[in-house]
């Protein structure tokens, strides 16, 4: 699997930099061109695109270390599958 998605809750106004700081992510682990995308403004929920290893480390269902000292995402790692037009049928 290539890059994955993780979700994070941050108080507004949130930025990609604040999300990276919160999750202790390095620049080369994050798709900075994709940025920090709001999912649900009412819930302060955002998504970002990260490498698979970073997703595993900080995602809440990943294999990274747990405990108070380790930053965790709100959710993920989630898949980021390719999408294609549904037509014409082949």
């Amino acid at each position: 699997m290539a890059d994955v998605l993780i979700t994070v809750r941050l108080p507004a106004p949130a930025t990609l930099e604040s999300a990276m700081r919160h999750l202790e992510l390095a620049e080369d682990e994050v798709d900075t061109a994709y940025g920090l995308v709001p999912i649900d403004p009412r819930r302060n929920l955002y998504v970002l695109r990260v490498t698979e290893s970073a997703g595993r480390r900080v995602g809440d269902t990943g294999a990274g270390p747990r405990g108070g000292d380790h930053p965790r995402a709100d959710g993920g790692p989630y898949s980021d599958p390719p999408i294609e037009p549904y037509g014409p049928p082949r």
């Binding site: 994709y34 709001p38 999912i39 998504v47 898949s79 980021d80 390719p82 294609e84 549904y86 037509g87």
Partner: protein, 453 residues
């Protein structure tokens, strides 16, 4: 699902059914079968019992010399009926316990050798779709899409081509259109392809809608032939559409989003049951943002897909239940395809869906001569065409019914309730609640307006 029910009633009744001079009806032998709508137009048929031709033969084997007995004490009777798709398993399991004369229940598949498939010539043209969608009636009600933003999430629109194909100017809303960061290009000026077909088809019922061009399927373009994107780009597109929606005044809020795309294969997904999975997981970020945008007032439609059992697309890789992820979202409409002659096209995906079981919701028209965007002689085809056709009808409704007056959930219910039901028991997994019916929609809106007055 249509079924054949085999019963063994009293020998007198079997003899009557077997005697062509004695009129008999389905209600004589199969009245009140719980959960089954009996087809009373189908006269009961006596069926002989296979028996070993040689004394001492196995009474249960069909792989031996047989004779067939129509004696009343041997023969049985078959009637025809229908069971709701989502009750099939429980009804069939319970039936022999509640009616001891029921021997068995068998599938009664439709014998259709002429279902439209990929490569078949077009069935009708887009003017037939206009007629079927009651375009003059919609126009008379003032339902033409004027002022309604209609977002086409696809490969980009070529407005000049669509205008020429329609024979009238189309409007692209440059301000509300949006490109993924990896895509450069001007809204309405992309190469003629799938997105132009979708735009053309959406404008059939809503000729004055404002197209919002969102070319997410160009985000991973390699060379000139491969059109695909990543789901993360669709998430970013939906975040943009949320801003579009929130910026509108409440009294005229409307946004219709048509999505003729999806995921063909589980190869790039986590498996179902994994918390990071997309296909079956309502908590995936894209499924969350679809729900969030619908709750905020957008009407979201997805193509059901081209993985129908009769002639599935060769790319379909899900072993079953091919309506996956947001294409089966409970807060979106999942659209299957029928041709203009009224038959489901063989490639239209059947339910149940993975996020919500009752998918597809509705069917709309496809496989007709339309935009020509896929080739001069190529029909506008796939559920890719059916989805924007239905989205156009939704956009037409929104001309006078903003989402603050008629919420997306209410409109989804109205469309399902007014659909032309194609089964005897309501919902089925081929046609959903039925075929979109503009006349029914207009009548329901009139009743609603009268009540409000």
């Amino acid at each position: 699902m249509r079924v054949l029910i085999q019963l063994r009633p009293s020998p007198d009744l079997v003899a009557a059914v077997a005697d062509p001079s004695v009129p008999s009806s389905a209600s004589d032998v199969a009245d009140d079968l719980p959960g089954i709508v009996i087809d009373h137009a189908y006269a009961p048929v006596a069926v002989p019992r296979p028996m070993p031709a040689v004394p001492g033969g196995d009474p249960l084997s069909l792989n031996q010399p047989l004779v067939f007995s129509m004696a009343p004490q041997d023969a049985s009777v078959v009637v025809r009926g229908e069971i709701a798709d989502d009750e099939l398993t429980s009804r069939i399991a319970l039936l022999p316990a509640t009616r001891r004369d029921v021997v068995a229940v068998y599938a009664d598949p439709a014998i259709e050798t002429t279902l439209t498939c990929a490569g078949d010539p077009p069935v009708g043209d887009w003017h037939d779709v206009e007629r079927l969608l009651r375009l003059p009636d919609l126009a008379a009600e003032g339902l033409d899409g004027s002022g309604v933003p209609l977002a086409v999430i696809d490969t980009g629109i070529n407005a000049a081509y669509v205008s020429a194909a329609r024979g009238r100017e189309v409007t692209v809303d440059h301000e509300r259109s949006w490109n993924p960061k990896s895509v450069s290009g001007t809204p309405g000026a992309f190469a003629v392809d799938h997105g132009s077909m979708c735009a053309f088809d959406a404008l059939i019922a809503a000729p004055n809608a404002s197209l919002v061009d969102v070319p997410v399927l160009l985000s991973r373009r390699q060379g000139g032939s491969t059109l695909d994107g990543l789901l993360s780009d669709a998430i970013a597109a939906y975040a943009h559409l949320r801003e579009v929606l929130d910026a509108q005044p409440a009294e005229s809020r409307a946004l219709v989003v048509t999505n003729s795309w999806g995921s063909f294969s589980p190869r790039w997904d986590f498996p179902p049951g994994h918390p990071g999975n997309y296909s079956d997981n309502p908590a995936h970020p894209f499924n969350l943002i679809v729900g969030s945008l619908a709750e905020a007032g957008a009407d979201i439609l997805f193509a059901a897909g081209n993985c129908g059992t009769q002639c599935r697309d060769s790319r379909c890789a899900y072993p079953d239940r091919p309506i996956v992820g947001a294409n089966s979202h409970p807060r979106a409409l999942s659209i299957g395809g029928i041709d203009t002659a009224g038959s489901r096209v063989g490639y239209s995906s059947q339910g149940p869906g993975r996020l919500a079981a009752r998918k597809p919701d509705l069917c709309a028209y496809t496989h007709f001569t339309g935009s020509g965007a896929l080739g001069d002689t190529e029909p506008d085809s796939g559920t890719s065409a059916a989805c924007p056709v239905a989205a156009g009808l939704v956009a037409a409704v929104r001309t006078r019914w903003p989402s603050t007056t008629l919420s997306p959930a209410q409109l989804r219910t109205l469309l399902r309730r007014t659909a032309d039901d194609r089964s005897a028991v309501g919902y089925d997994h081929d046609y959903g609640y039925g075929v979109v019916d503009a006349a029914g929609v207009i009548a329901a809106l009139r009743r609603r307006a009268a009540k409000a007055a």
